[in-house]
């Protein structure tokens, strides 16, 4: 199998993720989109790791998975916080500060 397939998958996932971040106004959806990007990165890394035959990529992917979990934890906490204060998690309402 060609590495291109994996990379293509990664790229597609990345694009979907980016689109989600830009287009979704629901904070949770945005979070999920970011997770998609991270996963696309993971796919890339794993594919490259296989390609190069060293473990750096694998290690990297493991770290990313771990860190992503922490990130999502923080993120969800923040979403909760906002929901508590505003009863909404729509991002477009977060525009109090300007200038």
């Amino acid at each position: 199998m060609l590495i291109n397939n994996f990379l293509l998958l990664g790229a597609v996932l990345f694009c979907i993720g980016v689109y989600g971040v830009i287009a979704r106004k629901n904070a949770v959806m945005v979070l999920m989109s970011i997770e998609l990007i991270l996963n696309s990165v993971n796919i890339n890394l794993l594919a490259f790791s296989m390609l190069h035959g060293n473990a750096d990529g694998n290690t990297f992917a493991l770290y990313i998975i771990a860190v992503a979990a922490a990130e999502v934890g923080v993120g969800l906490a923040m979403v909760l916080l906002i929901y508590r204060n505003r009863k909404s998690i729509a991002l477009d309402e977060l525009s109090e500060m300007k200038g």
């Binding site: 990165v41 060293n54 750096d56 990529g57 204060n85 977060l94 500060m97 200038g99």
Partner: protein, 509 residues
């Protein structure tokens, strides 16, 4: 699987505990703070801030001893595949010291603010220490993985700190924006890193450097990788056009955290960027130089122009720090030019040090003044000199330093940046120098607006009662002001820090 694992001789990595001591002290310290916070009485929570302060100073001790012992590059973790991924050299030590000291000043600034705001003090300091630990790690990281981990280490607590004003919707907004954009940016950066790994086959920066052009051709994937990675850090240092989060977050976050973000967090971003540029991309200067050139020019110009229109002092400082970021980026545009690299590295490091001192000082004044005026508007500084001359003069000193007026520290920082780009002697260098020169004037315009308020305008509401400044903030002011002046009058003190042949020399090959 297990058999195969067993088949390999496991050689434990050699750990240089001395070299790793700052991180260990910090980690231990933050655990202690967390524990203490759990058990002390509500009224004695001030202990946590004291402890946090001692932790930072304690972590500074090994940094100093390491620096005194010698200039050998140390590898805290050395082993077969570990050597070179985490490095303690002069460059790292200086920056560690910078982060620790900046953190200490932030702790000093926070003590009173956090206590009065009835926030969760223990968690606050724990998060602060964690973030600082991330920064300290960043200074030593020489590997994509460790850089990423350090970055997240310093960022995630920072997201939470930014949203510290839990019940304040501005605080929520700040935290959310910072968080989402930060994560998004690091995701993009990670994508770039994955590509970089793909084309070079290694995550070790010192190997990426030679490998990046090993295949002969410099492909589109290389360019994409480099660009995405730079973007990730450009976000961190809030370079235009990746700056939008900064003003909102600065305004919404508690002021000490704003100071922390605008100085330490930003510095960490620069550190990573610098390390990458010098160690990983020395052969990719064609790619990153124009990119950084645009970032630098845009940051200083747009940052300045937008700062001109601000009425809120914190937002003004946000844009000011964007513009200052442009100045710090400026030397990196010529990092790849023969002979100029050293100047550029020196310039960045010196600029970071000076900028940290000055900007922290300015925020300390802002905190002190806000205690009385309860306002972030620039107009609330009217007549400050008449009722709080010391604060007025100090603010003037910090602003003048930011504007680059000798003999205050800022001038030498700016001077170094100019020197670096002119040292290169390229057209790009001259171009950015001219842009920067003009921007110096624009910057002076809004700094002086504040000075004008302080010295020449009447007190807005006629309330000319003096300001009582808490001793911790006084200490912060003394440290920062002293540093600002001393660095300006005797720049050699910090100028020597920049003698970092190692980074460009040994590792750059």
């Amino acid at each position: 699987m297990i058999a195969s694992l067993l088949a390999v001789d496991f050689t434990a990595p050699t750990v240089d505990y001395h070299a790793l001591a700052p991180e260990i002290v910090l980690a231990a310290g933050l655990c202690i703070v967390l524990l203490v916070d759990l058990f002390v009485d509500e009224r004695q929570r001030w202990i946590t801030s004291t402890l946090a302060g001692f932790t930072l100073l304690g972590a500074l001790i090994p940094v100093v001893t390491l620096a005194v012992i010698g200039d050998d590059t140390r590898y805290p973790l050395s082993g077969e595949s570990l050597t070179g991924r985490y490095v303690v050299d002069e460059y790292a030590l200086i920056l560690k010291a910078l982060f620790l000291l900046a953190g200490y000043v932030v702790v000093l600034m926070s003590a009173d603010e956090i206590e009065r705001g009835r926030y969760y003090q223990g968690e606050y300091y724990v998060l602060l220490l964690t973030s600082i630990l991330g920064m300290v790690m960043m200074a030593s990281s020489r590997d994509l993985i460790s850089i990423f981990v350090a970055l997240e280490f310093l960022s995630i607590p920072a997201y939470m700190l930014a949203a510290w004003n839990k019940r304040n919707s501005k605080g929520n907004e700040a935290g959310m924006k910072y968080y989402l954009l930060g994560v998004f940016a690091s995701a993009i950066m990670l994508y770039g890193m994955s590509l970089l790994y793909g084309v070079t086959g290694t995550t070790l920066l010192s190997e990426i450097g030679p490998a990046i052009t090993a295949s002969g051709e410099f492909s589109g994937v290389h360019a994409l990788a480099v660009a995405f990675i730079v973007v990730g850090f450009a976000f961190k240092v809030s370079a235009v056009p990746f700056h939008q989060w900064a003003p909102d977050v600065y305004e919404g976050a508690p002021t000490p955290i704003t100071a922390f973000l605008s100085v330490a967090s930003k510095a960490a971003g620069f550190v990573a960027l610098t390390t990458l540029v010098f160690v990983a991309f020395p052969r990719a200067d064609d790619v990153y130089q124009p990119f950084i050139f645009v970032l630098a020019a845009a940051s200083m110009t747009i940052g300045n122009l937008l700062a001109l229109r601000q009425t809120n002092i914190v937002r003004m400082f946000a844009y000011s720090s964007i513009s200052q970021g442009g100045f710090i980026l400026m030397p990196l545009t010529v990092a790849g030019v023969d002979g100029a690299g050293e100047s550029a590295l020196k310039a960045v490091v010196v600029y970071l040090v000076v900028y940290a001192a000055t900007n922290l000082g300015a925020f300390a004044v802002i905190i002190a003044v806000a205690r009385k005026t309860r306002s972030g508007e620039i107009s609330s500084y009217g007549g400050l000199f008449s009722y709080a001359p010391a604060l007025g003069v100090l603010m003037t000193i910090f602003l003048a330093s930011l504007a680059g007026i000798p003999p205050l520290g800022g001038w030498f920082a700016k001077f170094g940046a100019f020197k670096a780009v002119l040292d290169a002697g390229t057209g790009w260098g001259y171009a950015i120098a001219i842009i920067a020169a003009i921007n110096t004037v624009i910057a002076a315009a809004y700094y002086i607006t504040v000075m004008r308020e302080i010295w020449m305008k009447p007190v807005p509401d006629g309330d000319a009662t003096p300001i009582r400044t808490p001793s911790s903030i006084q200490a912060a002011l003394v440290i920062t002001c002293g540093a600002t002046i001393v660095l300006g009058v005797l720049p050699d003190l910090v100028g020597r820090f920049g003698d970092l042949a190692d980074l460009t020399g040994a590792l750059g090959r």
